[in-house]
């Protein structure tokens, strides 16, 4: 619904080019569009979940230029020229899961699944840098992702298993 005051708002638009899961996209975004909303609403990559939208829950974590970041705390305009990986970019094809996804399934590392994409992206970046983590390091790495179902133990188990499989 449009009102007179809405019409007064000078919409600030930016053209951005961003590579997501290997595909380059050029889109026009409003300044205030969050990266999380851009991924979900503009690119229709709804695998990135939004929970708290103020940087607490970690559900929206994606990998930006190689490091895990909260996509609700970045503006889409800031992603111009950057390379992003979301949960849709993990599995090699429709038939196979990524080793982390496989391990999460094998260890019952998810129940409702809402937090899972964020956990997968956080831990993918973590395991890329730490091939042989111990349980304490895994728990520390997971600390920025909230899960209200599992109690975390099965996620920790899954990450230990995934790390082991990735090493062999």
């Amino acid at each position: 619904m449009s009102t007179d005051s809405d019409a007064d708002i000078n919409v600030d638009l930016h053209e951005i080019t961003v590579t997501v899961n290997g595909t380059a996209y050029r889109r026009t975004v409003e300044s205030r569009t969050l990266l999380s909303d851009f991924l979900r609403h503009d690119l229709l990559l709804a695998g990135t979940h939004v929970g708290c939208e103020h940087g607490v829950c970690g559900a929206c974590t994606v990998i930006v230029d190689g490091v895990a970041a909260r996509s609700c705390l970045m503006l889409a305009a800031q992603a111009d020229g950057q390379t992003i990986t979301t949960v849709e970019g993990l599995a090699p094809d429709r038939e196979h899961l990524h080793p982390l996804q496989e391990a999460m399934r094998d260890c019952h590392g998810l129940q409702c699944g809402y937090c899972t994409p964020g956990i997968l992206m956080t831990m993918t970046a973590f395991l890329d840098e730490n091939a042989a983590p111990d349980e304490r390091q895994i728990r520390e790495a997971l600390s920025g992702n909230l899960c209200r179902c599992t109690g975390y133990q099965h996620i920790v188990d899954a990450m230990m298993l995934a790390a082991e499989r990735l090493r062999s």
């Binding site: 409003e30 300044s31 205030r32 970041a69 503006l75």
Partner: protein, 292 residues
């Protein structure tokens, strides 16, 4: 859309960023790591006319250890980079020890030292650390630049001495001296949460292991980070032993003015500050004695 509308400009140069800030003043916000600013935008607690993204100004994302006795850290340097820098571990062990306590890995991947200090959250770790280390902060504006002592920088909760046209560009911290030690500790409900109270302290000893200087600062113990100056001075010329530490802890409890919150009453915060003093001072002292 969660944030209210604003104009966004990715700064191409420091001059451009400073010119925009001069034009917009308090209506303009610098965007560094965004880990504090963007939540407040999302809640519409902050509704700036313009957001000036300084992330492209990568010359301010560097750690410079070339000067003798000091470390300069660009305001845009991310926690991740500071955490992994071997020079920081060596020259600023207090910062190295504190970093894992700051939020979570994803936040540290983006969050910057300068953004954190300019945000001046009294519950945050870095303001107390920079105060304990007697750091200096470099501010630049269209019309010039100046150094501000950490003791003068934090003027209130979320308030600093920065003028509306100024940008924090660099932080200079004295490197740890020989025969000195430091300790950072905090009590939080969960790892990564804001501290109920945190302590950052340094102890420098003479050849006889008597205290030359001790500096004790706290986060979440008042409207600003708090330096318990009297408590530190009470140790000067004395061994950092049990009776001296007991006396310093009592002075600490008088120096701070915690606000209390849903997780900890004022009384409990004051109690914690005393406990942390009695834990951190012996640790800093032991480290100083072990240091050559």
């Amino acid at each position: 859309m969660k944030p209210a509308p604003f104009k966004y400009i990715a700064a191409r140069s420091l001059d451009q960023a400073l010119a925009l800030k001069a034009d917009y003043g308090d209506e303009g916000h610098f965007l560094a790591g965004g880990q504090s600013l963007v939540p407040t935008l999302n809640f519409r607690l902050t509704q700036p006319a313009i957001v000036i993204d300084i992330n492209p100004l990568t010359q301010w994302a560097a750690i410079d250890c070339t000067a003798a006795g000091a470390v300069r850290i660009g305001a845009l340097t991310r926690y991740r980079q500071i955490e992994r820098d071997s020079n920081i571990a060596l020259k600023l062990p207090l910062i190295h020890e504190a970093l894992p306590h700051i939020a979570h890995p994803q936040i540290r991947n983006r969050g910057t030292l300068g953004g954190n200090l300019a945000n001046a959250d009294p519950a945050s770790e870095m303001p107390a650390i920079v105060l304990a280390l007697a750091g200096k902060l470099h501010a630049q504006s269209k019309n010039g630049d100046r150094w501000i002592a950490a003791a003068d920088f934090f003027t209130g909760a979320l308030s600093t001495a920065l003028e509306p046209d100024e940008m924090l560009t660099e932080i200079e911290l004295p490197a740890a001296k020989a025969h000195s030690g430091s300790s950072f500790m905090e009590v939080a409900r969960r790892r990564g949460d804001f501290a109920l109270v945190g302590i950052a302290c340094t102890v420098e000893l003479d050849a006889d292991d008597r205290c030359v200087e001790a500096r004790i600062a706290f986060c979440n113990a008042g409207e600003t980070p708090v330096l318990a100056a009297e408590a530190g001075q009470s140790l000067a010329g004395r061994p950092v032993a049990a009776p001296e530490i007991e006396a310093a802890a009592a002075l600490v409890q008088r120096a701070i003015d915690p606000g209390g919150n849903v997780h900890a009453s004022k009384e409990f915060q004051r109690h914690l500050a005393g406990v942390l003093t009695k834990r951190a001072l012996p640790e800093a002292n032991a480290r100083a004695r072990a240091a050559a």
